[in-house]
């Protein structure tokens, strides 16, 4: 029978080919970890049956936390007893996903002792995923992790683990310190991360420039995307060098500028910075010659989400520009107001972007005390169905107030 269990003809097919194989990894882990062996068996069964063999999650976790562990139970536990429970722990990664070999090895040692020996590096939100262990192992694993300096990430209706692009650590385009900001925000809101206070999840993602390497605009309830306010820094000698080296400045750079605010006469590149929308194209193509301006900061956008429930949304502009050294205070002030409003009016499982759709952006701005600015829209409304407020209405003259003044 044990031999029978080891036969995985379908998964074996996935050991072939040039791309590194996760099946090889599960097999390698299975050498020492019985959970990995049964995971392999159950996955083979899924490949045969074309269906998941996991039951709907259950509530498990570590003491005092309302998230960070995804409960998982097999629907074929008799066949694969070692994964009868197979809970995943989300471990909050360091900002920018930087590690030393030493700390990675220590994480491996913990997981070899307490779990399946399998990981996701990393999960979709950015956490290190410790893939599968038994209920009894959760507390001991948590204890060892915290003593190594790691904590759990978020799951459920919490502030989810924030993430950041590499930013100032290794990117010349970072307009603010994404990793520092991510670390700071994560530490500030540990309670919101570990104990579900919200109607649904809330995500922060920090990108250092409009290239948006962490997909902040597509995925974060609050997207903080670096930008600059003054002129693109331009090194004419370096532009000329690119041209001499064969870059077609007109075709490769100017022609792709979305606002056509650049011109090239064969010698001099001119940028009309008032019309530049900070798209990054020219800077991406000519990194030695062009750089973001010196007056750096970020645009704050709100409301992105995947389709569940009412349809997908991209984030939209909330604050066009916050100077780099004011971002942290601005965010703290802003989220406390956003979370208050959402906590009061949000329905169960309603993301903040959906709440704004339902109640109207103007109502939302009133509630959080922000003035409307034209940068918030791609165009003003084109329908005349305007909800004028009562206080904007000219009241009927009061009884006995006399005739309206005549000229």
């Amino acid at each position: 029978m044990p031999d029978e269990k080891k036969k995985t003809p379908l998964l074996d097919e996935l050991e072939k080919g040039p791309w590194p194989s996760f099946v090889k990894d599960i097999k390698a882990a299975a050498e020492t970890q019985p959970m990995a062996e049964d995971l392999l068996g159950q996955l083979e069964l899924s490949y045969k049956d074309k269906i998941s063999h996991w039951k709907h999650g259950g509530i498990v976790g570590v003491m005092g936390y309302g998230g960070g562990v995804i409960g998982r139970y097999s629907d074929v536990p008799e066949q694969f007893p070692n994964v009868s429970h197979f809970h995943t722990m989300r471990v909050n990664m360091p900002s920018g996903w930087f590690y030393t070999s030493d700390v990675l090895r220590k994480i491996c040692d913990i997981w070899e002792k307490h779990g399946s020996g399998l990981f996701n590096f990393h999960g979709s939100t950015g956490d290190i995923i410790l893939l599968g262990t038994k209920t009894d192992e959760l507390e001991p694993t948590f204890s060892e992790l915290t003593h190594l300096g790691f904590d759990l990430g978020g799951s459920g209706s919490v502030m989810r683990t924030p993430s950041a692009c590499v930013g100032k650590a290794r990117c010349e385009w970072a307009c603010y310190d994404t990793m520092g900001m991510c670390n700071e925000i994560t530490h500030t809101y540990q309670d919101e991360l570990h104990r579900p206070p919200f109607p649904y999840k809330f995500k922060f993602k920090f990108s250092g420039c409009p290239n948006d390497c962490v997909a902040s605009i597509a995925r974060a309830d609050l997207s903080i995307i670096g930008t600059w306010k003054d002129d693109i820094q331009q090194d004419d000698a370096a532009v000329a060098q690119y041209a001499a080296d064969g870059v077609d400045i007109q075709k490769d750079v100017c022609d792709h500028c979305p606002t056509k605010c650049m011109s090239w006469d064969g010698k001099q590149l001119k940028i009309n910075n008032r019309e530049c929308v900070r798209c990054m194209h020219c800077i991406n193509v000519l990194p030695k010659a062009l750089r973001p301006g010196k007056e750096k900061g970020a645009t704050v956008l709100i409301g992105a989400k995947a389709p569940i429930l009412q349809g997908a949304q991209l984030s939209s502009v909330l604050i066009p520009f916050v100077p780099a050294d004011e971002i942290l205070d601005t965010l703290k002030e802003l989220v406390s107001r956003i979370w208050d409003f959402w906590g009061e009016y949000g329905n169960n499982r309603e993301r903040v972007g959906e709440l704004i759709q339902r109640m109207g952006m103007a109502t939302f701005l009133d509630a959080i005390g922000l003035d409307p600015v034209p940068e918030m829209v791609s165009a003003p409304r084109d329908n005349p169905y305007i909800f004028f407020r009562k206080e904007d209405e000219v009241p009927e003259p009061e009884e006995g107030a006399g005739e309206p003044k005549q000229k």
Binding site: L11, G17, H122, P287, L314
Partner: protein, 359 residues
């Protein structure tokens, strides 16, 4: 110092500074420009003149501790133990000595790690859990990703596309990976309404919550053999599985009706055109494990047609902007069906409202 028995909570993630290469610490925020030395090999130059070299390789998102220990060993051997991961499941070794680049690449090649994923290549596919660890998955994730990347591996190790190309996979509409803004998105979908488990529903779920969970109002209360339960108005169901997320007694999974859909032309970067959603290319492909050949062929076909036809710097969506959707369907040979025309909320936004038609 905390003792091993003291219970620590809410300590948050470790401070990243302790994991930074000394050169990165020294030049933090002082980078001047970067160059690509080869696919997967970058050199960042600081104002100080210091140079940090990055070697990027792809790996499966699902890894064993053996593989993690192996890259830790390589990092020790070549770069003082300093490494990082990208948002797309790539590993980056951070080197101060350029002479270590080639030996590192050799070791990586010998161990089967492809080096690349930079600039105009296909970077690693971001993906979700699938049958490995999720109950609501309409398909597996790791297996399809492996099968697609096996065929597209050369496009990872070479920068020979018109622009960068980002592929993502999510195994259900929950889209843990938020794949909806990718050049090519592979999305698991269900196609049959939830089977209501009348015996248990009342015991395991709050009926009002189940009814409220449905975005289309397709669930209403019902009585089944005297017990309170719910029923689904099947014509109103678009298989989002939201009810199943809220209530285990509403499973949708089905071997023959679950499968994949393919979406194209999304992007998150603001470069040139604005960020945008991916649009439907193929509404349904059945599950065909272990290698999903139909999905692989569909993705490779779109990549090849794009590579042949797009101009330099055009992302997939920007290429389609220029040539138009009719030509996209013609060039790829993908049939256009009734399912391609939106009929959900704001559907009209994607109708063609002009006579701008390319013939």
């Amino acid at each position: 110092m905390a003792t091993q028995t003291e219970r620590l909570t809410d300590i948050g993630p470790p401070d990243f500074h302790q994991f930074l290469h000394p050169l990165i610490k020294k030049n933090y925020g002082q980078w001047k420009y970067h160059e690509t030395l080869a696919p997967g090999v970058l050199c960042h130059v600081a104002e100080s003149g210091d140079r940090i070299y990055t070697v990027r390789c792809g790996w499966p998102r699902l890894v064993s501790l053996h593989r993690v220990r192996f890259i830790a060993e390589l990092a020790d051997k070549y770069c003082g133990g300093y490494l990082r991961f990208t948002s797309r499941n790539n590993v980056e070794f951070l080197l101060d000595n350029p002479e270590n680049i080639e030996p590192l690449k050799k070791d990586l090649a010998a161990a089967g790690f492809p080096v690349g994923g930079t600039n105009n290549s296909i970077s690693n596919i971001v993906h979700t859990q699938g049958w490995v660890h999720c109950h609501s998955s309409a398909t597996d994730a790791s297996g399809i990703v492996k099968s697609v990347m096996d065929v597209l591996c050369d496009r990872f190790t070479h920068e020979n596309l018109p622009a960068k190309l980002r592929i993502a996979l999510a195994c259900c509409l929950n889209m843990c990976g938020a794949v909806h803004c990718s050049d090519i998105a592979i999305l698991g979908i269900h196609r049959r309404p939830p089977r209501v488990m009348h015996d248990t529903l009342n015991k395991v779920c709050e009926i009002p919550n189940v009814i409220a969970s449905c975005p289309t109002g397709a669930i209403r209360s019902a009585t089944y053999e005297g017990k309170p339960s719910v029923e689904v108005i099947e014509e109103q169901c678009m298989f989002c599985a939201n009810c199943y997320t809220v209530c285990p007694a509403m499973p949708l999974n089905d071997p023959e009706n679950d499968g994949l859909s393919i979406w194209v032309g999304g992007k998150v970067s603001n470069a040139r055109s604005e960020p945008r959603f991916s649009k439907l290319a193929i509404p349904f492909i059945p599950n065909n494990p272990p290698r999903w050949p139909e999905v692989v062929d569909a993705v490779v076909n779109i990549v090849d047609v794009y590579a042949r036809n797009a101009r330099k710097y055009e992302r997939v969506g920007e290429w389609i902007d220029r040539i138009g959707w009719p030509r996209f369907f013609e060039l790829t040979g993908i049939p256009f069906t009734r399912y391609h025309i939106d009929d959900f909320r704001y559907a009209g936004l994607t109708f063609a409202r002009s006579t701008h038609i390319r013939f």
